[in-house]
């Protein structure tokens, strides 16, 4: 969806990288099963969600070899469909739908794309028919976020919190009490981190188009941004360390993502913005 939650593949073992790709393929297949066009929303962010869910639920991991439209020549290992993959497919449909709604209300260049994507997003959403609890959560938290944006709120933390709470509900949905608490914390920090890095990434575009961006309104400097995002990662680390991993492969991939992949992404965004001059 955003593409910020990725591993540093150079530091993954070959077998771990293969596993990671098989989950990505497995998610694609799962989406195809649920609603054919849903595959267009496929992203690495949901692979992370799938990995976390599988680590917590202990879903079985079995594979099969398969060809596909995008890779027609050689059969590739694909993770067999399981509960976690199905859940991620549905979550992707839900978030994409609300993302499209958000784009339609935007001022920037995403508005036209929003209108064009709307009919398809709506049809997929209707077909998947996500869980009522998740719909309520999306309406509530994204509604609060939208209200805050309309009032030109100047606190990036406050805005990020709404998105964090939504992901918190998604990550923890349907899990038992202990796992739900851990997953909720992971989701909250991931959501807040995504919101902050997205705000940083879009700062120039939003300034030009006059779109809402709490960093423009509140005014932050580069050091504060780096520190705040690292603090989210620290919270994320604390939550992840509480998972009792049964599969070291999944554990290593998740840790690669949070310790290497996400900081790499942050570094890339900050470097791009630093080259253009300070925020204020």
């Amino acid at each position: 969806m955003f593409g910020y939650i990725k591993p540093r593949t150079a530091e993954l073992k070959v077998k771990e990288h293969e596993f990671y790709k098989s989950v990505y393929c497995g998610l694609c297949k799962s989406m195809k099963k649920r609603a054919s066009m849903l595959r267009m929303t496929l992203s690495y962010d949901f692979v992370f969600l799938a990995l976390v869910r599988m680590a917590m639920t202990g879903d079985s991991c079995s594979f099969h070899l398969e060809r596909c439209v995008v890779h027609p020549f050689k059969k590739r290992p694909v993770l067999d469909n399981n509960q976690s993959l199905t859940f991620c497919a549905d979550a992707s449909a839900l978030l994409t739908y609300y993302n499209v709604l958000d784009k339609m209300a935007d001022k920037g260049k995403g508005r036209l794309r929003g209108y064009l994507s709307y009919p398809l997003a709506k049809r997929i959403f209707k077909k998947i028919s996500p869980d009522a609890e998740l719909i309520l959560s999306a309406e509530k938290h994204l509604g609060s976020l939208s209200e805050y944006e309309k009032q030109n709120g100047d606190s990036a933390d406050c805005a990020a919190e709404h998105f964090g709470l939504l992901l918190s509900d998604i990550f923890s949905h349907g899990l038992d009490e202990r796992n739900a608490a851990i997953a909720a914390e992971i989701g909250r920090h991931i959501g807040r981190w995504i919101y902050l890095i997205d705000a940083l990434d879009d700062i120039e575009d939003d300034r030009k188009s006059g779109s809402y961006n709490p960093l423009i309104i509140g005014g932050y400097n580069f050091d504060q941004a780096v520190t705040a995002m690292n603090m989210e990662l620290i919270g994320l680390e604390r939550a992840i360390e509480l998972i009792s991993f049964s599969d070291s492969g999944i554990e290593n991939i998740i840790k690669n993502i949070i310790y290497l992949g996400m900081p790499d992404c942050a570094e890339r965004v900050i470097k791009k913005w630093r080259d253009q001059g300070d925020l204020k």
């Binding site: 530091e11 073992k13 606190s155 990036a156 933390d157 406050c158 990020a160 919190e161 807040r192 902050l196 509140g218 932050y220 050091d223 504060q224 941004a225 780096v226 520190t227 705040a228 690292n230 603090m231 989210e232 990662l233 620290i234 919270g235 680390e237 290593n252 840790k255 310790y259 290497l260 900081p263």
Partner: protein, 204 residues
């Protein structure tokens, strides 16, 4: 006396005790009976003097009753907001952050000094809102650069964030064995075998 005592002394209501004393001294110097001893205006001056004395006494009375009715210790400025901040600190120490937030929100804009910004930052740290927390800590340090407590709070966030990921090793964790480990283990095993009269690896 119906006149406003502050107006009589020519000071504002926010004036410090020192400012009021100073104003009183200057007025008494001006309207002192000795200055008007042989003047037809001595009675008028005397009345003025009486007015000034009464105004000064009135202000002293008002301020001392505010002090004793307040939250206990207050600085020479005679305001009670320091007492409020003590209460907010207590709430934070007890973990009652939402109440602390409410109390912080009720403080007037003009009273939001360095300590207020510091306490606001403390509450935000508890919520995990580090962007805003930094902003408030930085403001506190800017308003009161000599305060070690505020500086320490800001540094603590910065130090924690810079430590992220230091403990993570990019190569494999412990418990793995490489080819070197295997070879050397086999050679050792072979030597031990030969010591006991056997032979694990014939060519070694």
């Amino acid at each position: 006396m119906t006149a406003d005592p502050y107006k009589v002394l020519g000071v504002s209501r926010d004036a410090t005790d020192d400012e009021i004393k100073k104003a009183y001294r200057e007025l008494t110097k001006k309207y002192h009976p000795d200055n008007y001893a042989n003047s037809p205006l001595s009675e008028v001056a005397e009345e003025k003097m009486k007015e000034i004395n009464e105004a000064y006494d009135e202000i002293q009375r008002q301020r001392s009753s505010a002090q004793s009715g307040g939250y206990g210790s207050s600085q020479s400025s005679g305001r009670t907001y320091t007492g409020e901040f003590i209460r907010i600190r207590e709430l934070i120490n007890e973990g009652r952050y939402s109440e602390a937030q409410i109390m912080l929100g009720s403080v007037a804009q003009s009273d939001r000094n360095a300590e207020w910004n510091f306490l606001k930052g403390c509450v935000l740290v508890q919520m995990g809102w580090y962007f805003d927390a930094q902003k408030y800590f930085e403001t506190a340090c800017y308003m009161d650069p000599s305060n070690a407590e505020y500086r320490a709070a800001l540094d603590s966030i910065r130090n924690s964030s810079s430590q992220y990921g230091r403990g993570y090793r990019t190569n494999a964790g412990g418990g793995e064995c490489s080819a070197c480990d295997m070879c050397s283990t086999l050679i050792c095993a072979d030597c031990l075998c030969e010591c006991c009269g056997g032979d694990l690896i014939r060519c070694c």
